[in-house]
Symmetry: C2
Subunit: 323 residues, 2 copies
Amino acid sequence: MNFKIDNLQYCNWSRKIFEINREAGLDAIHVTIVYHEDFDELKMVIKNWENHFSENSDLIFHGKSFKDIEKAKSENKTAVFFGFQNCSPIEDDIGLVEKVYDLGCRFMQLTYNNQSLLATGCYEKIDSGVTKFGREVIKEMNRLGLVIDMSHSAEKSTIDAIEISEKPIAVTHANPSFWHPAKRNKSNELLKILSEHKGMLGLSLYPHHLKDGTDCSLESFCEMTAKTAEIMGVEKIGIGSDLCLNQPDTIVEWMRNGTWTKSKNYGEGSKNRPGFPKQPDWFLDSRGFENLESGFKKVGFSESEVNGILGNNWYNFYKEMNQ
Amino acid sequence: MNFKIDNLQYCNWSRKIFEINREAGLDAIHVTIVYHEDFDELKMVIKNWENHFSENSDLIFHGKSFKDIEKAKSENKTAVFFGFQNCSPIEDDIGLVEKVYDLGCRFMQLTYNNQSLLATGCYEKIDSGVTKFGREVIKEMNRLGLVIDMSHSAEKSTIDAIEISEKPIAVTHANPSFWHPAKRNKSNELLKILSEHKGMLGLSLYPHHLKDGTDCSLESFCEMTAKTAEIMGVEKIGIGSDLCLNQPDTIVEWMRNGTWTKSKNYGEGSKNRPGFPKQPDWFLDSRGFENLESGFKKVGFSESEVNGILGNNWYNFYKEMNQ
């Protein structure tokens, strides 16, 4: 059986977007539900998601294990897995790790762009790696089956997390820096260590992570994928599109600035281009999976390799995490 | 006019202790009111202090500026200044810095022993210095007049804070590591940089910071003070006794472990000696200031130098911070 999975979306959710994801044939999506929210705020966000689930029960449901991906496939729905791009919901309390797991959350980044209590983000000047509290949290995440995501973390912190964790970890949405040297993209060395520890990379379709940004060609993206497969093994690669459909620019401003500064930070953007960038025309939304499929075939991937990248590899990762 | 100031106490507060501080002639104390508390919990702690103030208004009042030290002196009372040994009350929100200042808090450590969102604590393996959020918070603390305290911070973080801050900072309670190489004590280089930037060191009387611990001699302590004065200049030295009178051992366990670990950490203690250590017999409580006075004179400090160390130097520091 083949599965289609987009392992990172952060859209301005509506029935329209859930329909698009079904049209694209997505059996599962991992959605970001937290950037800066603390535990109480997380509970509010989940309440909103409960409304989405009840109002769109013909299209989506809350996914909690790999079995829900199978269920979604058989019911023509999309299983929605919750994740955080920050560790803010656990605040400074190891006891909250189990509580967020019990609320049905399955992925947590140890850092967003800045230093967190657990590790260093990719926008800090110096990376001190995983902290004492970070080690405790990793142990607890391993025990529960909450996936460690290092998409926005700095290099040493990421390698620390890979090596400290007793379960495979994920970089749900980033690209290799050999192709496009953005701060958020990852070095060959890191990708190698990630794959040696059975970790997964979700390739990002967010223009700031793409060579030539919005003008990136499908061919260039697929060639990059082929080279990445040589480094990591094709079965360690999936998609984490980082789609932010219909989000207003105030959202990306909030993502970057949260409540940590009184001045304005533009992160991956710039003063002249502070907002969300335009998607490339071959991946305007998840229906672009079809273009990826033909593009991957053109650069020489076999059918089963393509199916792996488009979803089966993530499915196998989920399966391993739930064991 | 001479003032007596103990710039760090964390006692299990009672009328008895306020009386002892008056007996010792203390015009001001800086008290720790936070180790791990968040903003809401801070407000509860301050409510408790309001009860102390109203029930003991003949002995203490809430100090907010150097003028309150003068007022305390003239009324035979002790002005109580609030401080945090952690940045937990500002959570991840730059806006809370002004709110804690408005609540009458005047000192904040950027870290306790672990990595914080602002800087690195002295118990972490790697010290990445002041973070991006940390720089923003220092700017805001400078603007308001909230003193940066680096007593529990790692070396590079402390030097960063000294250099980034536009106002003098404090190490309210620690000793030089040349005398006793505890993780919490400070290097000669750091002390030199601190004093060059008009910062203050409060000498600690907490046995884990003393050479020979509980058995430390008054003579040894005073000789260390004389050597420290050679490094920093005598006017940059005060007392921050770190007295924890009448605290049960459950408190030191909570101080060390907070909510960040499921296993037990002994910090400066050990499995066999997990509790609060016994004070040396020449500094059982703040009435030991009298012993310090004679001890300092014996090692050759002049009367005005002794008066400086016992309070006037802190008074001048407070005065500078309020300008």
